[in-house]
């Protein structure tokens, strides 16, 4: 949701000035991510519509629409993954872990946090070498540097990592809150 502020365990944030600044920064970042995501979706839809209109009404094939829309989609997906993390919408199976004793649940939670952060950080680091090559190779239609879509990897996965850590720390500390949010009943498929 637009402008939705801190969720979960950061509710005590107002006590310390550092945390307060962090929360303000986070809210600003989230609004920025939301706004960019909305623009990307709008661009994608308009580019594809332009392609159809161009083909049927002006008998003119627009070469760049498909390519740029695909780039927009990559950005949208990778930013969207972080947005979905914020709203707790990535599906997981927590029926079994909830039956375990509390300390074991906490251990599972922190192990999941560490491993998840490891994977997300690996993608961020690994994408940097792709990015370096991406400045040299050009896209087929527009001759745009491939760094433009590649850049979505470090940015998107970096944001995903941030939201993952924010969402997972309180859940690992207090496992009994897992599954209490209504967001989990939604799925795209």
């Amino acid at each position: 949701m637009l402008g939705r502020t801190m969720t979960g365990g950061a509710g005590t944030a107002t006590r310390s000035p550092i945390l307060k600044a962090f929360c303000l920064g986070l809210t600003a970042l989230r609004r920025l991510v939301d706004a960019v995501a909305l623009l990307l979706l709008a661009y994608m839809a308009c580019a594809i519509l332009a392609q159809i209109v161009g083909r049927y009404f002006f008998n003119y094939s627009i070469a760049w629409s498909e390519e740029t829309a695909t780039f927009a989609q990559i950005w949208l997906t990778l930013l969207g993954a972080g947005i979905a993390m914020r709203h707790n919408q990535h599906v997981g199976v927590d029926v079994l872990v909830r039956k375990l004793p509390r300390p074991v649940q906490q251990a599972c939670g922190f192990a999941g946090l560490a491993l998840g952060a490891w994977f997300l950080a690996t993608v961020v680091v690994g994408s940097l070498s792709m990015l370096a090559i991406g400045f040299m190779i050009k896209s087929p239609a527009l001759r745009m540097p491939m760094a433009v879509p590649y850049m979505a990897l470090p940015v998107g996965f970096g944001y995903f990592l941030l939201e993952f850590v924010i969402a997972t720390i309180p859940r690992a500390l207090r496992p009994e809150t897992i599954g209490a949010t209504p967001d989990e009943t939604e799925s795209a498929a």
Binding site: M44, T77, H87, Q89, T185
Partner: protein, 425 residues
């Protein structure tokens, strides 16, 4: 291989989101068993989503959510009431017809289930229907969304199996209508022997049907655009999804007028977030499928299974049982991405058509949406009805039985899924 599969299962049951469980397991396997540079992970993640065809998914999710916010479910319930409201056990039938209609507009089973539940459950409770059976029937009606086009599951299957989305979409129509028809028959037979509550029906009038049709009509433009556009060769699936989005936008903003421009950012962001959960699984799963493929796992499984049987009938039976069990515990998209690349080459070596095989997979996974313990449609319908999953599960046999019968027919009669694409494409 052991690391990838074992790690995935442990992470899965410990509550880690599936998207990360897939990535972590793949990364463990790469680190422990190969010398591949670590940037391969980022490359695979990128390759997984760099696809023009997959763009159809966010478009369909947006138009589905828009229609829902625009009040399409209520209109379809009114239309369905005019169509089948005169039959014994009318509300069950209305729920099924509404589910079929919504499935033709949206690609998401859980969203459809939530929409039907919200409109139908109060009325069913008022008329003293069996609320557990009602929730079970609504869950199954919602799960039709993955069989009847447009379907997110079908798009993922088509992209993974390298088949035309149009053929998959058309192939799902007849099986989807068969599931709806058999459930209606089942509910009618049940209601005929049920209590007095089921005989409380409304008379059929042409005027009422016409009013219902005029009211719901603009929403029906969406399936016409999608199917007509793809069958007529006017659009690709991605373009059809984009046109469907604009049609929905016009219908909800200017015809139905239940939402305004101010509501759009909220709905769009929800759609972005929901479709990202699907697309990001595709992206991390491509790391996972790459590592299990490089370790020769698909070939191993193929040798093992072909060692058991060279009979396609038995093979399909094994595949169905496997998919039904997987569907009970796993979410559809990741199940497709992990299993389809392994199972499809085997199916083709038995001479099974890939489109038919894709429909079989989709049908199995849509059954997985209503089977406990992890059936998202069952979960949504139960929670809206205010009943526990175990209570609703006791009545799931009726819709489940109907779906299983159709699954058997689709598995062993290729024409059911292949006839329509062969005539129209």
């Amino acid at each position: 291989m052991i690391w990838a599969a074992g790690g995935f299962l442990v992470l899965l049951i410990s509550g880690t989101p599936i998207v990360l469980a897939l990535g972590i397991a793949a990364l463990l396997a790469i680190e422990l068993t190969t010398t591949a540079p670590i940037s391969i992970v980022a490359q695979r993640v990128y390759g997984g989503i760099s696809s023009f065809t997959l763009m159809a998914i966010p478009f369909f999710v947006v138009s589905g959510l828009l229609m829902e916010a625009g009040g399409i479910a209520r209109r379809f319930v009114t239309l369905a009431g005019a169509l089948v409201g005169w039959i014994t056990g009318s509300l069950y039938l209305v729920a099924i017809v509404t589910g079929t209609g919504l499935a033709a507009i949206s690609g998401s089973g859980s969203a459809d289930t939530a929409a039907i539940s919200a409109v139908m459950t109060p009325e069913m409770r008022k008329r003293r229907y069996d609320i557990d059976l009602a929730a079970a029937v609504i869950a199954a009606s919602g799960s039709l969304a993955s069989i009847i086009p447009p379907s997110i599951v079908m798009i993922v299957i088509a992209v993974t199996a390298n088949q035309s989305i149009g053929a998959m979409f058309l192939g799902g129509i007849v099986p989807g209508l068969m599931v709806a028809g058999s459930m209606m028959l089942g509910c009618w037979l049940y209601a005929r022997r049920g209590g007095e509550a089921y005989r409380d029906t409304e008379a059929f009038t042409g005027a009422r049907l016409w009013r219902g049709f005029v009211d719901a009509g603009p929403g029906l433009l969406v399936p016409v655009v999608i199917i007509g556009g793809i069958v007529g060769g006017i659009f690709t699936a991605t373009e059809a999804a984009c046109v469907a989005l604009f049609v929905t936008l016009i219908v909800t903003l200017f015809v139905y007028r239940e939402i305004t421009v101010a509501d759009l950012p909220r709905i769009f962001l929800k759609a972005i977030s929901l479709s990202a959960t699907v697309l990001i699984i595709i992206s991390t799963a491509s790391v996972f499928t790459w590592i299990i493929a490089t370790q020769g796992f698909p070939a191993m499984l193929k040798d093992w299974l072909t060692g058991i049987t060279d009979n396609p009938i038995l093979f399909l039976l094994i595949v169905n049982l496997l998919l039904l069990v997987v569907g009970m515990f796993m979410e559809s998209i990741s199940a497709i991405l992990i299993l389809l690349p392994i199972l499809l080459p085997m199916a083709q070596s038995y001479g099974i058509n890939p489109v038919q095989f894709g429909i079989i997979v989709a049908l199995n996974l849509s059954i997985g949406l209503i089977t406990p313990p992890y059936g998202i449609c069952l979960y949504v319908a139960s929670s809206v009805a205010g009943r526990r999953i175990e209570q609703v599960s006791r009545k799931i046999w009726l819709p489940l039985g109907c779906m299983l019968i159709v699954l058997l027919l689709v598995t062993y009669v290729p024409a059911i899924s292949l006839w329509l694409p062969s005539v129209l494409l």
